[in-house]
């Protein structure tokens, strides 16, 4: 089962589907392309589940450890005897888990899009982009080589760009796509330099060799990476930090988070797949993939990552409390939850119970994929129904959309961490890990959990309660909650969001591959659940019925509210830096240089050439006797040369 040909099918099936739709399906099967795509993805998802079963329960465990299996590794480009770019497949707990998550969520989104995107003009193109994304993401998670990760990393960025800009006639969508691409591309520069630094010192790009060489302190590679340095920090730490910058860009961590909320311009199912469940966790996955190096060789950097994660988490949660666009609230919620995952990695050590944070982070990644995808798809259904993103156009939808309402409620409870839903388990583990290793992070995380509950239920009540539904679009009156293909994924994902927490993660995915027994911390559980319930009650009081309490509160802290409402002015700061400093100052200088020096050099060359040719042009007079005269003198000159030199 775990042979190369079977495993290759998992990423290659979406690729084939992409090629088929792009070259044939788009033109000849415009409406059937979606169905083809869904069938192909189902095959991929079933294979992934089978692989996961085989890996976790049949062959993966040897001597009490989950070993990494490499069924395939092809050398693609060799630079030197040690350094080469390979294309391979690695199977270890996190990659197998990611395979399942990506194919499963992608399948759900594929099915959902059949209904949501029905009647779109570029329906087939949409599916081809989705398949391209799925292929890239799968290629990323099974990468054996750091450069292979980078390769698919960029491919993921491209497909994300294409999907955000799907409604390319909308200027805001185009701007958002460009913003996402440029910001992540900027961060990827760090990633690339990080890869080069790490491979320079370790002499390899292969991840397993890299980990082996940079975690054992008696190797020459380790010595070279730690003894050289820059600004008092060793090369190894710099390399890891630069790699993390790439991850932070993709995962929308502070201060590179600005692209994610704008990315909601894409179709809602895309947001569910890419900007909530899969692509944005690539940064977390990257850190997890290189986790032994971070944890063993550079624990201070890991701690910094933890702080960056929890600060992003808290900021995003505060901003989310003030936003009124349903998708933007969910986007900030995503940033917040990914920050949680990184914070959890930051409080982890390598091995055994000390690695609880790692396990918890992966656990949260897993559960978050389900409930966040579910939230987005529910939001999609709501938007589909009311034709607006703004919560003020919603309200009182619970009777109109009972299934969506139920799913959304359960997903909110899950993200709020109410037992026994999935979010409870993963959050509890994160908080426990944080409590054991870093009290500061623990308290911020705890408060953020409360905020999370508050803004999620604020969103829930504003959307489904608050007041009776008023239809703003008369012409859309009669249509229902959505066809079966929109409801089915909701229900399946709801089961996931409810039940994913019962997966025994600390047995399956741990930092060193060795299962451990997690402890149950009753006091932390009580603290977290208590705060969540309290936040939910406040949200209920504020938003269940329409009243002026929220306005009063917000006006009493109006400065903070405005600050959060304007997303802490990050966009404005970036605008200032790029517009005023980069474009107007440095850009003007280089523009002057280009116009006067570069252009001047080109123009001077042209001028000299022209003047020269003007000078010698009269030789071509068109006068036949002039030519004959030149011929005569040529002959005479030749004779003179031959004669006087006695040839």
């Amino acid at each position: 089962m775990l042979n190369a040909s079977t495993l290759l099918l998992i990423p290659l099936l979406p690729l084939l589907s992409f090629l088929f739709i792009s070259f044939i399906g788009k033109k000849y099967l415009p409406t059937l392309s979606g169905t083809i795509s869904v069938l192909v993805l189902s095959a991929s998802a079933i294979l992934s589940l089978a692989v996961a079963y085989n890996y976790f329960f049949v062959v993966g465990m040897t001597n009490g450890f989950y070993q990494a299996i490499i069924p395939m590794k092809l050398e693609w480009l060799r630079f030197s005897p040690g350094v080469s770019i390979d294309m391979g497949i690695i199977l270890d707990p996190i990659s197998v888990m990611m395979l399942v998550v990506v194919t499963f969520i992608s399948l759900m989104v594929h099915i959902y899009s059949l209904g949501y995107m029905k009647g779109e003009e570029r329906f087939a193109v949409y599916y081809s982009f989705l398949d391209l994304f799925t292929f890239s993401m799968l290629g990323l998670v099974i990468a054996t080589n750091l450069f292979q990760i980078y390769f698919f990393w960029e491919l993921v960025g491209v497909s994300s760009y294409l999907l955000i800009g799907y409604y390319f006639t909308k200027p805001s969508a185009v701007a958002a796509a460009k913003k996402a691409f440029i910001v992540t591309r900027f961060a990827d520069l760090g990633f690339l330099i990080g890869i080069l630094v790490l491979s320079f010192h370790s002499g390899t790009l292969d991840i397993q060799t890299l980990i082996a060489r940079l975690t054992t302190s008696d190797t020459t590679f380790y010595a070279s990476a730690t003894f050289t340095g820059f600004m008092g920090v060793s090369s190894l730490t710099w390399g890891l930090a630069l790699v993390f910058i790439g991850g932070a860009g993709k995962s929308a961590m502070f201060p590179l988070h600005i692209w994610l909320p704008d990315a909601m311009e894409g179709p809602t199912p895309v947001s569910a797949l890419i900007h909530a469940a899969t692509m944005v966790v690539a940064g977390v996955y990257l850190v997890a993939r290189l986790f032994p190096i971070y944890a063993i060789s550079s624990p201070h950097l890991l701690e910094l990552i933890g702080y960056i994660g929890i600060i992003s988490s808290a900021l995003a949660a505060i901003i989310a409390c003030t936003q009124t666009d349903i998708k933007r609230v969910l986007a900030y919620s995503t940033i917040s939850q990914i920050g949680y995952m990184l914070a959890s990695l930051g409080v982890s050590n390598y091995g055994g119970l000390n690695g609880e944070g790692f396990s918890a982070s992966m656990f949260h990644l897993f559960t978050h994929a389900f409930f966040k995808a579910l939230l987005f798809l529910c939001a999609g259904s709501v938007i589909h129904y009311v034709h607006s993103n703004e919560v003020r156009d919603m309200g009182g939808l619970r009777k109109k959309m009972p299934i969506t309402h139920l799913c959304f409620l359960l997903a909110c409870l899950a993200i709020a961490g109410i037992p026994p839903l999935s979010g409870f388990f993963s959050k509890e583990e994160i908080l426990a890990a944080a409590f054991a290793h870093n009290q500061t992070i623990f308290y911020i995380a705890w408060l953020t959990a409360g905020l999370t509950s508050f803004y999620m239920f604020r969103l829930y009540f504003l959307t489904f309660w608050n007041r009776d539904y008023v239809n703003h679009h008369e012409s859309y009156e009669h249509h229902s909650e959505g066809s079966w293909n929109m409801k089915l994924p909701l229900l399946i994902l709801m089961l996931g969001a409810v039940g994913a927490g019962f997966v025994p993660f600390h047995h399956l995915i741990t930092s060193d591959g060795q299962p451990y027994e997690s402890e149950f911390h009753l006091n932390i559980t009580l603290m977290a659940v208590g705060l969540s319930l309290f936040a939910i009650i406040i949200a209920t009081i504020f938003y269940r019925k329409k009243n002026n309490l929220p306005d009063k509160i917000s006006s009493s802290i109006s400065q903070l509210y405005d600050f959060a409402y304007h997303k802490f002015y990050f966009d404005e700061v970036y605008q200032f830096v790029t517009q005023t400093i980069l474009f107007n100052t440095i850009g003007a200088l280089s523009s002057w240089f280009d116009k006067n020096i570069v252009n001047g050099a080109v123009n001077t060359t042209a001028f000299i050439t022209e003047a020269f040719s003007e000078t010698i042009k009269p030789v071509q007079s068109g006068k036949v006797q002039g030519y004959a005269l030149a011929f005569l003198f040529g002959i005479l000159g030749l004779i003179a040369i031959l004669f006087f030199f006695n040839f």
């Binding site: 071509q620 068109g622 036949v624 006797q625």
Partner: protein, 104 residues
Amino acid sequence: MIDQVPLTHILFLSTALFFIGAYGFLTRRNMITMLMSVELILNSVNINLVAFNRYLHPNIDGVIFTLFIIAIAAAEAAVAIAIIISLYRKINSIDPEQADELKY
């Protein structure tokens, strides 16, 4: 007898004739006189061939070559005059200074 005049004198004659022809070809502002200059040049060559045959070579090869050159000169003159007449129709002049359409 003929050997009272040395061969070189005949060659001087033909050389002078050649350069007179060349001078005419390069300076005359009329295509017909240019053609006449070309005839002079060809004749200077003919004189050379015939003189060499007479003085140095006991055979008739030089004479045969002269005959061929006369024939070819006739053909050349005919073609040249056809071109001149065609040009005259086109630009109403046979001054080579006027026919400079092929300049830069």
